[in-house]
């Protein structure tokens, strides 16, 4: 059922049937370390180049999600997947062997939200019985594409994020009484540009979009923060969280207690020297599949608004002096009784 301006409530909510998360060494040493399915000690994932490494990461994660759910590959009708690299090379090379019809998505770090939005819509509409949603990022490929070569010495500002080496994948299936969690609704984000130009402060670039999507969700569903046990953004980091909470407070919403951010959960910023927090498509995706979904499955949390956030940054637009617009996609996840 269409709700308000940008939301859908599913009458027969698709169910997350299986999930998998694989991360790199640094993420494995973080606070969520023990929750991931696999912590790969080799950041090259057995490949020769960083880009191939990220592709290998996607393939391994997809295979693991299929295996864990005891699902036949051919039963997955569509794959919604993406990464941060130009022309989505991590996804296109990583998913060749899966032989599943693919929609390649680019939503920067919000990709997992975009994949879940589209995947849930496809399943709920009856166009597929099962789909997979997946997103990945790799510290080395992201640094190379967006910032500096790894061996280059520089001082990162405190507002800088640390790209997560990680991948998360879920298999969504049509409504049924069991499963890990149900996707009961979505709120699709729109571009929000507050004119931020500092590519080393992505929290500030993305916070307004998270604010907008959460507000839109409240409005469309006619609810407020008390409706949710947790509201979890993708990778706002410390500065982005401060901004979001400030904006929300101005609107009369108190989010301090229930808000958390995948970028703040995945690393111990002080001990791991990750500055503002984690980022990248893999940040929200791997945190979802290791930390958020198990808590929904156990019933510790009954209802979560998951809001992966993306900074639509390009080195070209940045060099040409353009600002960094943000986007955030909301996914309502619920415990299955």
């Amino acid at each position: 059922m269409q709700l308000g301006k940008a939301s859908i409530r599913f009458e027969e909510p698709p169910v997350i049937e299986s999930m998998a998360s694989i991360v790199g060494k640094k993420e494995g040493e973080g606070p969520l370390g023990k929750m991931f399915d696999v912590v790969e000690q080799d950041d090259m994932f057995g490949a020769d180049t960083w880009e191939q490494a990220e592709s290998a990461l996607q393939k391994q994660t997809a295979d693991l999600a299929i295996e864990k759910g005891n699902i036949r590959k051919k039963d997955i009708r569509y794959l919604f997947a993406g990464d941060l690299l130009g022309q989505l090379i991590a996804t296109s090379f990583g998913t060749v062997d899966l032989e599943i019809p693919l929609f390649g998505l680019y939503g920067a770090c919000s990709t997992m939200g975009e994949a879940l939005n589209l995947g849930a819509m496809t399943v709920a509409a009856g166009y597929a019985d099962k789909v997979m949603a997946m997103a990945s990022s790799h510290f080395a490929t992201a640094e190379k594409q967006f910032r500096f070569p790894l061996a280059y010495g520089n001082q990162r500002p405190y507002s800088a994020h640390w790209t997560v080496t990680g991948c998360g994948a879920v298999v969504l299936s049509k409504h049924r009484p069991d499963g890990i969690a149900a996707v009961t609704g979505i709120t699709t984000g729109r571009m929000v540009d507050m004119g931020t130009k500092d590519s080393m402060n992505m929290g500030a670039a993305m916070a307004p979009s998270a604010f907008h999507t959460i507000q839109q969700n409240f409005e469309d569903f006619n609810v407020d923060e008390t409706y949710y046990d947790k509201i979890i953004t993708g990778d706002l980091g410390e500065i982005g969280r401060t901004i979001l909470l400030d904006f929300m407070k101005n609107k009369g919403h108190k989010l301090e207690e229930i808000h958390t951010d995948c970028g703040l959960e995945i690393y111990d910023n002080k001990a791991q020297d990750t500055h503002a927090g984690g980022s990248g498509c893999g940040c929200a995706a791997s945190t979802l599949c290791s930390y958020i979904l198990p808590k929904l499955k156990s019933g510790e949390w009954k209802r979560v608004l998951f809001v992966p956030t993306g900074a639509l940054l390009s080195t070209i637009s940045f060099n040409e002096g353009a600002s960094i617009p943000g986007i955030a996609h909301g996914v309502v996840l619920e415990h299955i009784n």
């Binding site: 180049t49 790894l150 901004i243």
Partner: protein
Amino acid sequence: MEINKKAYDEYVKEVTPVHNKGLNIVKAFLVGGIICTYGQVLNTWLTNTGLDKETAASWTILILIATSVILTGLNLYQKLVKFGGAGALVPITGFANSVVAPAVEFQAEGQVFGIGCKIFTIAGPVILYGIFSSWLLGVLAYVLKAFGII
């Protein structure tokens, strides 16, 4: 959204923590000083071995560059820059790091399109504008000399 972009920019500046400038300057002074002292030690030693001033200076620079390249390969120079900032970036050792880093990174893309095209992605602007500004100053010196000012 009700707050305008300029106000947002100012607000973001308020909530974004920045490095302590004073402390950074002290660290830069320390690291830069150590690198320069190392250079001076090399230079004095080379001069004492009997090399003339110019040859000793060339060898000093070569050894400084080699040191930086080796430290970059060992993942140590990056840590020095993280601590010392401009103190480690401004000396020739920092320049060497900025040339070696892309060479290592883009090796996978081949000798020509990888290393060849991308080795100067960071150092390129320094080289271009360094040469350009020295040319500009040369022209200026020529003109001033022609008019007998200098």
